[in-house]
Symmetry: C2
Subunit: 158 residues, 2 copies
DNA sequence: ATAACTGCAAAACATTTGCATACAG
DNA sequence: CTGTATGCAAATGTTTTGCAGTTAT
């Protein structure tokens, strides 16, 4: 769940260089947001991330959270997901396997999976439609069989 | 694009019976919304649907549009999609092949495709994770090669 | 008749924007 | 210093809700 320190450092370095290249500032808020998202390893929405930061004594505004998430997406350190709710969820993407998502309709739990056939499908579709495909999102929705799957959608953050 | 009259009738009948079963009323607004969505065959968002109705001289409120869409989803006549934008899009689902979506990042055009391998993946995932999978959403995003793909996201409705 | 539905406007959310202040380079 | 970021609060866009009036059954 937690990334090795060496990789966390690499992530910070990458963000720092991205900012430098674009002539943007390296602020403590930006790194705090990066750290919070990478520390969790979960699929947090912007507000849960905001709440977690506040809980950890980091005071940032929601606007800065959204701003920074956009920057992190631009430098490929974070991916944004629309799992069917109106609010987006964000997930770290550095040094992590490419995967798709399996969501429990009852408890809201999110599982990750990877199947090589999705890649084949992507190639076939690109060929047939003359598309240059940049990315895909495959979400499966169903009922999990966990003991503690209790039909109560648990909030993203404790 | 347009469904044969016989199927449109079947759709209306199905909705009528669904409403009767639940002791809900058959109002002209509800059928107007059903018709408008089935007439288009597109992936409309709630507001585009609202606009189309108004253009056709049907006066309904946005609230009724949303309400009715929920009913149509419940009786499996309509499916709701989250294609990455905040606003949801709605598509008729009766007498239509099961398919996934290919979206052009530049012009916003939506294409449909179907690949049997997605079904295999679904079965594999269900098996591995002990899930009873109810549905899936596979969206591919890329650049189309159409002549009139002009980078300008065209609005859902003309 | 009467319970359900509609339209309207206000509320509820998620996200973005504008602007005065703060601060990294 | 200087321009970029931040926080705040207001604005935006989408969807939901409350309620008085309307209508299908």
């Amino acid at each position: 769940m937690t990334l090795p320190q060496a990789q966390l450092d690499e992530v910070r370095t990458r963000f720092a260089e991205f900012l430098k290249t674009r002539g943007q500032r390296q602020t403590s808020e930006r790194f705090a947001i990066l750290d919070a998202l990478y520390a969790s390893g979960e699929h947090l929405d912007a507000d849960a991330l905001f709440a977690r930061l506040k809980k950890n004594g980091v005071s940032v505004s929601r606007a800065t959270v959204y701003n920074t998430l956009d920057l992190l997406i631009e430098c490929d350190l974070v991916v944004k997901h629309q799992f069917g709710k109106t609010q987006a969820r964000y997930e770290r993407s550095f040094a992590y396997w490419q995967h798709d998502h399996l969501l429990c309709i009852d408890c809201g739990e999110i599982f990750e999976f990877c199947d090589p056939r999705i890649q084949s499908i992507q190639e076939t579709v690109a060929e047939i439609y003359g598309f240059e495909i940049a990315q895909h999102a495959l979400n499966m929705y169903g009922h999990c069989r966990r003991e503690n799957c209790d039909n109560k959608p648990q909030t993203a953050e404790a």
